[in-house]
C-alpha cells in the first residue's frame, strides 16, 4: 500500500492507499520539534489502530512545503516502515505542460492539486479546471482541458487571517467559524461570522470569476473544485465552487507518484 503525505504549514495529512482506494486518513500537527523517531512511532501507532501492519506499507510519497520536516519524515519512513519516501518536486512528471516562469519554483503542493483536479474532473470531461485549496494559504490553480498548467494565485488563508485578527484587534473576540444567521451583524460575533464566511466565499468567487475570464473567455466553463479543512463551510456560500473534494491533495500525491514510479517510456 502507498502512504501518501501532504506536509502543510499547519498539518501533515496522511492517506493510506490500496491501489486507488483511500482506505485511511490521519491528520497530525506540522510540529517543527518532533524528531524522526517521534514521527516514526506515530506512524506505527496510527497504522496499528486501524488494523494495519508496518509491512503493509510498501511505498511512500510526499509533497511538502515545510523543508525542515522533510529529512525527518524520510528517516521515519526508512527506519520504521522500511520504505523509501519519495519527495515529489515540480520537476517530476506531472501535467503534459506547465506554463510557469520557473517550474522549479512552483510549489509542489499547488502542482499536485492541479494534477488531481485535471485527472479527476477535467481530463475525461474535456473542460478546464480550477482547484481552490483553503489551507494556511488559499491557493487557486488553473489547468486547461488539455492538461496545461496555466498559473494561479495565492491569498491569505481563512484560519491564519482570522487568528491574526483576534491577535491584533483589542476589542474582537475569537469566534467559532459557523455560518452567520444575518448579513448585517447586530453583534460582534455575528459581524465576524459574516465577514469570515461570506467574505472568504467572496474572495474565492472574485478570484475564480477573474481567472475564468482569462483562461476561458469563451468555450466550456471550468469545473471549480474546492478542498481544504474549511472548504465545506465556504463552498456553501460560494457562487462558483461546484464541488468539494476533501482529499484532492492526497489524490494528487498518489496520481503524481504513480506517474513517477515507472520508467519514463511507460508514462502516459
Amino acid at each position: 500500500m502507498l502512504l501518501a503525505l501532504d506536509v502543510g504549514n499547519t498539518n501533515v495529512t496522511i492517506g493510506l492507499y490500496l491501489e486507488d482506494e483511500l482506505v485511511a486518513t490521519w491528520r497530525l500537527a506540522s510540529s517543527r520539534e518532533e524528531t524522526a523517531d517521534e514521527w516514526g512511532l506515530q506512524f506505527l501507532q496510527l497504522l496499528k489502530r486501524e488494523g494495519f501492519r508496518p509491512q503493509d506499507v510498501t511505498e511512500a510519497a510526499m509533497v511538502s512545503v515545510v523543508p525542515p520536516l522533510n529529512a525527518r519524515l524520510v528517516d521515519a519512513c526508512r527506519r520504521y516502515l522500511k520504505v523509501p519516501l519519495m519527495e515529489l518536486t515540480s520537476t517530476h512528471r506531472s501535467l503534459p505542460k506547465i506554463y510557469y516562469d520557473n517550474v522549479a519554483a512552483l510549489g509542489t503542493d499547488r502542482l499536485v492539486n492541479a494534477v488531481a483536479a485535471w485527472e479527476r474532473y477535467g481530463r475525461s470531461q474535456g473542460v478546464p479546471v480550477i482547484a481552490v485549496d483553503f489551507g494556511t494559504a488559499t491557493k487557486l490553480e488553473c489547468v486547461s482541458a488539455a492538461g496545461e498548467y496555466l498559473g494561479g494565485c495565492i491569498a491569505p488563508g481563512i484560519g491564519i487571517s482570522t487568528e491574526a485578527l483576534a491577535r491584533y484587534a483589542a476589542r474582537l473576540p475569537r469566534i467559532e467559524l459557523a455560518p452567520p444567521r444575518q448579513v448585517i451583524g447586530k453583534n460582534i460575533v455575528a459581524s465576524l461570522q459574516a465577514g469570515i464566511i461570506f467574505g472568504f466565499a467572496g474572495q474565492a468567487d472574485g478570484l475564480v470569476t477573474r481567472l475564468t475570464q482569462e483562461i476561458a473567455p469563451s468555450g466550456p466553463a471550468p469545473m471549480v473544485v474546492a478542498t481544504g479543512g474549511l472548504a465545506h463551510l465556504v463552498a456553501a456560500q460560494s457562487k462558483t465552487i461546484r464541488l468539494v473534494d476533501p482529499h484532492l491533495t492526497l489524490e494528487g500525491v498518489r496520481l503524481m507518484y504513480w506517474k513517477n514510479r515507472e520508467p519514463e517510456d511507460t508514462w502516459s
Binding site: C142, C153, I154, P156, A169, V183, G195, D205, G206
Partner: protein, 262 residues
C-alpha cells in the same frame, strides 16, 4: 482649533481642524506601552513641525478602538494641552441612533464613521473601512447605524501568510500584471489584490441587498489604508474618502455645542 484623534488597533490618526477645514493630518503607531508623556511630546512636536502651537488647540476629540490607551491620552490632554478631551463613547450625544443588540458593544470608531458618512453622503450607505480589520458599516436612509460585517484586514492577513508559510516571501501590495500569475510574487499579489476586491464586492452586494437593493441608491464609500489601492479593482466602491474618521470626530464635536455658540 480642534485636534481630532482616531486611535486604531495599529495606527493613531491625528487631524487638526480650523472650523470645518482639515489643516494637517498625521499618523503615529498605536503603541500600548507609550506613556502620556511620550504621546504628549510626540503630538506637540508634530504640531510644531507643521507651524502650530499647543495653545492653538482649544479642544481634543478622541475615538479609540484600544481601550487601554484612553486614560493615557486623557492624561496627556490634561498635562500638555490643559483641557479635558471629548472621548466618544456611551453617553456622548453623537446624533447617531444605534440599532444593535447591545449598543454599548459598538466601537466608537463605527459611530464616528457613521456620523461622517451620513452627513457627507446621505443614506442609505455602506462604509468599507480598511484597517486592522476590514469593517463594513450599514447606515439606514435616516442615518441610523444598523450594524455591519467585520473581516480580517488586508495587511494583517498578508503578514500572517508570510509568518505561517515557510516558503512564501513578503510582498509589496501592488496590482500584478494579470490575475493568472506565473511566479510566486505575482501569485500572491493577485490573490491579495483581486481576492480582497472580490471579498469587498461580495460583502457590499449582500449589504446593499439588505438596504433595499439596487433601486435604493445605496452610497458605498471606502476609507482606510488600502482603500486607494483596492477601490479601483472593485465594482462596488463609489468613492474613497481617506478622512472619514477625522471628519466624524469634527462633526460629533460640533454636535456637543448648543446651536449658535462658537
Amino acid at each position: 482649533m480642534l485636534l481630532a484623534v482616531d486611535v486604531g488597533n495599529t495606527v493613531i490618526s491625528l487631524g487638526i481642524y480650523d472650523q470645518k477645514e482639515l489643516r494637517a493630518e498625521w499618523h503615529v503607531s498605536a503603541d500600548r506601552r507609550k506613556t502620556s508623556d511620550q504621546y504628549g511630546l510626540l503630538f506637540m512636536s508634530l504640531l510644531e513641525h507643521q507651524g502650530f502651537q499647543v495653545s492653538d488647540v482649544h479642544a481634543v476629540a478622541i475615538s479609540s478602538s484600544v481601550p487601554p490607551l484612553v486614560p493615557t491620552l486623557e492624561w496627556m490632554c490634561q498635562k500638555y494641552f490643559h483641557l479635558k478631551p471629548l472621548v466618544i463613547g456611551p453617553g456622548v450625544r453623537t446624533g447617531v441612533v444605534i440599532r444593535y443588540d447591545n449598543p454599548r458593544e459598538v466601537g466608537p470608531d463605527r459611530i464616528v464613521i457613521a456620523a461622517a458618512a451620513f452627513e457627507k453622503y446621505g443614506g442609505p450607505a455602506v462604509v468599507v473601512d480598511f484597517g486592522t480589520a476590514t469593517i463594513f458599516d450599514a447606515i439606514s436612509a435616516k442615518g441610523e447605524y444598523l450594524g455591519g460585517i467585520i473581516a480580517p484586514g488586508v495587511a494583517i492577513s498578508v503578514e500572517a501568510l508570510f509568518q505561517h508559510a515557510a516558503k512564501l516571501p513578503r510582498i509589496e501590495l501592488v496590482k500584478p500584471p494579470s490575475v493568472l500569475a506565473r511566479n510566486t510574487v505575482h501569485s500572491m499579489q493577485s490573490g491579495v489584490i483581486f481576492g480582497f476586491a472580490g471579498q469587498v464586492d461580495a460583502l457590499v452586494e449582500r449589504l446593499v441587498e439588505q438596504l433595499g437593493g439596487p433601486e435604493a441608491g445605496v452610497k458605498v464609500v471606502a476609507t482606510g489604508d488600502m482603500a486607494e489601492v483596492l477601490a479601483s479593482e472593485t465594482r462596488s466602491i463609489q468613492a474613497v474618502d481617506p478622512y472619514l474618521s477625522l471628519e466624524g470626530l469634527r462633526i460629533i464635536y460640533e454636535r456637543q455645542r448648543p446651536k449658535g455658540e462658537h
